[in-house]
Symmetry: C2
Subunit: 330 residues, 2 copies
DNA sequence: ATCCTTAACGTCAACGTTGACATGACTATA
DNA sequence: TATAGTCATGTCAACGTTGACGTTAAGGAT
């Protein structure tokens, strides 16, 4: 079907190995032979079969990227950063969506391992997943985004979520808000999560205790933001500001306020997180914590490449800065 | 490094072929042997090596998806549809962004061919690309989205762009608009493009000639929409309505109007195309032509699977309906 | 004339599977 | 009791490359 080295070799009257050498620019070859073979390669349109090559080199030039949902512009932008660096280095990217389903995360990890990807970039739902650990242990490098895990084969790219949310809370406090709720996103099985922690420390710093009923966990989608904030604002009318785990949740809050005739930001101020592209286009324009999503992707892929090329290297975590962007919603 | 069939076979005291048979549920195997081997597989955590399997079966269980830019929510939603169907059928997806760069399209096609993907789904910049044709000819099935190409190995998923834009134009005419411009997106090298055609026929149907200066081609991004419409509206203040090739362009128009203090929809009505998620959240909420993006992806992947599983099959083009959604911008 | 070096190739096995075919034991049938 | 048929398993080559190592001829040094 496709043209193989054998075809090229026969036509050139040389051994397959010789063709291999010109394809890989390796070993000693006379200029004349090289030119002749290159001409034949061009003529026949030969392309090396990467799967055969992978079988022997144990490299597929493919990495896996596991995101919650590519439909969320946050992940799309990160993916773009990953892809661009990957492509520049001759790598391809297998993309998996797992929604908020730990089982899907496991399936994705298994599938990628079966495909022998050279490494994985993961926004983990749960980073201590057994499969992840076994993958990491006996297999290939992994870059974790937004979760810290110490392991020789794991590099980590962190967002300074705590700091970002602290800035947001302080900003709201300065504007005189006293009752600030948080839509805290998915509930972490262990620990509190960076952003929630930022919320709580900022409030405690002001001597304001956090009460559990002002923190709500949910899947971080607009629909959930709408549902949760509608309920929250109806039941607790004294709340004057809401911080959301991400912009999609914040969009849901905007929607709820519109429906409840709550004026933003006068009656309820809103701050999101991520600064996805559309935060500046919604009405009112959303105040949010900006993350350089593209850079997150670039950094992750760069780190992964470093580990792939030198497995012995230990890579220290990097924490990317974030920045509060105040727009109309606060 | 990883566990192979050989390891399992040795531990079970059987031949590799026997292990292969239980892994693939094929051939006759005694229940006892099967159980014993399955136990060992579970114990060792053996996973079949797909690249080795691919080498012999000539199938990689991988398809390529080439989009302009995954950062555009339109493509992200289509990708999601593709991914979900792919995953349900045991397939993985290699994602490539090509922006508006024909050269990148070629590189992506070559890269995917080198990786021996089982098929490709492509939003073509130019569908008669040599590499695409050679790929299609000597290689594997392709699904083209939004472009028609007759070829035994090519299936096609079309959006009824012409009809959608016609609806939009008629809607604007009904509202009394006479001077309707179009930001027509990337200029097709051949033909006019469905959406532009819909624009022109709708106008001609009303006896309104289309003049070239009301049609502007550009890359379909918000930035371009902003630039082009700002210029257009300054130079031609009599224009009272703009139809955009996609919602991102329309967002740019909104931005330009805001800056020029043009009131939407009174002084300038705007209609987009795609109905991406955020069209309902911008201010004013964008009138647009709804495309079922997720279904586009599902249909494309389903068709690709059909062709992969039965290469002889010829698949007739499908044209998915679109629907005008009138919101606040018109 | 002999030995050594080196450039320019070639040979062979291996990567981890699967397909085609072979084998041996056992069962059923005439 | 010989024969065919079936079940359960084994053997071997092949998929398209590359790594390790071998070979050959030319040329230079001694």
């Amino acid at each position: 079907m496709a043209i193989t080295m054998k075809d090229v070799a026969e036509k050139a009257g040389v051994s397959i190995k010789t063709v291999s050498r010109v394809v890989n620019n390796q070993g000693e070859i006379s200029a004349e032979t090289r030119q002749r073979i290159e001409a034949i390669i061009a003529e026949l349109g030969y392309r090396p079969n990467l799967v055969a090559r992978s079988l022997i080199t144990q490299r597929t030039l493919t990495i896996g990227l596991i995101v919650v949902d590519i439909t969320n512009p946050f992940f799309a932008e990160v993916a773009r950063g990953v892809q661009d660096v990957a492509r520049q280095n001759g790598y391809n990217v297998l993309l998996c969506n797992i929604d908020d389903n730990l089982h899907e995360q496991q399936k994705a990890l298994e599938s990628l391992a079966a495909h022998s990807v050279d490494g994985i970039i993961l926004f983990p739902l749960e980073y201590y997943d057994d499969r992840l650990l076994s993958f990491v242990n006996q297999y290939r490098p992994v870059v974790l985004i937004n979760h810290l895990l110490q392991h020789p084969n794991v590099a980590v790219v962190l967002l300074d979520g705590a700091h970002g949310v602290q800035q947001a809370v302080n900003h709201l406090l300065e504007r005189g808000h006293q009752e600030i709720a948080m839509l805290a996103g998915p509930k972490p099985i262990t620990g509190r999560g960076q952003r929630l922690q930022g919320y709580q420390t900022a409030l405690q710093g002001q001597g304001l205790a956090d009460s559990a009923n002002r923190v709500i966990f949910s899947i971080p989608t607009q629909a959930q933001g709408y549902e949760q904030s509608k309920q929250l604002l109806s039941q607790h009318p004294h709340i004057t500001a809401i911080i959301a785990y991400n912009d999609l949740l914040a969009f849901g809050v905007i929607q709820a306020c519109r429906e409840l005739n709550i004026v933003i930001p006068d009656q309820c101020a809103i701050v999101g997180f991520d600064d996805i592209y559309f935060s500046n286009l919604v009405h009112p324009a959303l105040s949010t914590v900006r993350v350089n999503k593209y850079e997150v992707g670039q950094q992750a892929m760069t780190r992964l490449l470093t580990m792939i090329n030198d497995p012995k290297l230990t890579i220290s975590p990097i924490k990317l800065g974030v920045e509060l962007i105040v727009r109309e919603s606060s």
